[in-house]
Amino acid sequence: MVHNGKIRVAVDAMGGDYAPQEVVKGAVLAAQKDDVEIFLVGPIDVLKRELASCKLRNGTSIHIVEADQVIREDESPVDVIRRKPNCSVAVAARMVKSGQADALVSAGSTGAAAISAIQFMGMVDGVYRPALVGSFGSFAPNTVIVDLGANVDCKPHQYLDFAIAGSVYAKRFLGIADPKIALLSTGSEDTKGNDAVRQAHALLKNSGLNFIGNIEGGDILRGKANVIVCDGFVGNVLLKFYESIGDHAKEWTQHKLRRHPPLRALVGLLFDKLFPSTRIAGESERRGGGILWGVDGVVRIAHGASRAPQIANAIESAKEAVRADIVGTMRSELAKFKQGGK
């Protein structure tokens, strides 16, 4: 995976609200470290101009790779396959597939990155679609949730893929040897939930995985399970609700305590100190977050509004995922699962 001691990262230079300027700056920032070689993918003229405006120290490993098409936000991500196969994110995906790069980083459309990964890199054998995994951080430090939004409509067998992806995350990033897996539903009984959840329950129960059954929303933060499995629609709603709790609770208490200024200030300080850690995305960014799990290669999605520091962080976490060999681990976990083991 590593080439001459460096991890090679293909960066979709045209993806993101502030591309290419901030993406190029972020890549230059990340390239200051000696353990990385960066390939900026996009139109050569544009990227040469952007790079010329950056200060590069001698020996910086940063290159430009031509991609003459760009996928716009208003275009369907599926267009990447038939209409825009030479857009920057697709070219970057093919670089990973061909072994020219170890990881892909994109702040562009998540759909376009996911579709490029599926089509041009392929999935780990047996996995249908990529999933997003995240850790709950402080409130439930040993709990992760899958899927956080990559798959809004799910087929029952996808919940199995999510369970395996979550297990790999829990093992590699949380150090849990045999993660307990639960299905998020509207009740603990097998019969609770919608059709897909009920069918998924039967599949998980007979999977040989360490499946403990259904849990309800109220159990999530109690740490009953290490891996909570749900579809991307539920996961994304839950993610955003959870991340809003801190700010909302702070506003509410500040309002309630408006007639008690010293107490109000003290409580405000406490919230500032404690509640940033409820951010799943923020917590997870350092540990496998934003990674498209299940793809046959490392793909790191950065937020569309990323500026240079966030792009540099995304490159850093892609390197971490390469070092942790998440793809190889996922493959071996699936192989064990197919043989009926844990």
Binding site: S76, V78, I81, R82, I115, I118, Q119, Y128, D153, K155, H157
Partner: protein, 81 residues
């Protein structure tokens, strides 16, 4: 393996459904294929048979049978040429 069987294999592999449930009357909706599944299937069929399927033609497929008939015709035309 004939054209129909090859396309059935491709569609089953991409959609992760048992190929036995795909009949000529099956719609993509019935086999729960989404837009990405359909595009992936089109690309895979194009590569397998060395043909191009324009979007305007693909949009006319009402079911799996239409897809198969179209490809059978295109393959036959190609062989005649």
């Amino acid at each position: 393996m004939n054209v129909e069987e090859q396309i059935r294999e491709i569609v089953a592999r991409i959609t992760h459904v048992d190929k036995s449930i795909i009949t000529r009357e099956s719609t993509f909706k019935e086999i729960k294929a989404d837009s990405l599944d359909i595009v992936q299937a089109l690309v895979a069929v194009e590569e397998t048979f060395g043909i191009e399927i324009p979007d305007e033609d693909a949009q006319k497929f009402r079911n799996f049978g239409d897809f198969v008939s179209y490809v059978e015709n295109r393959v036959a035309q190609k062989e005649t040429v």
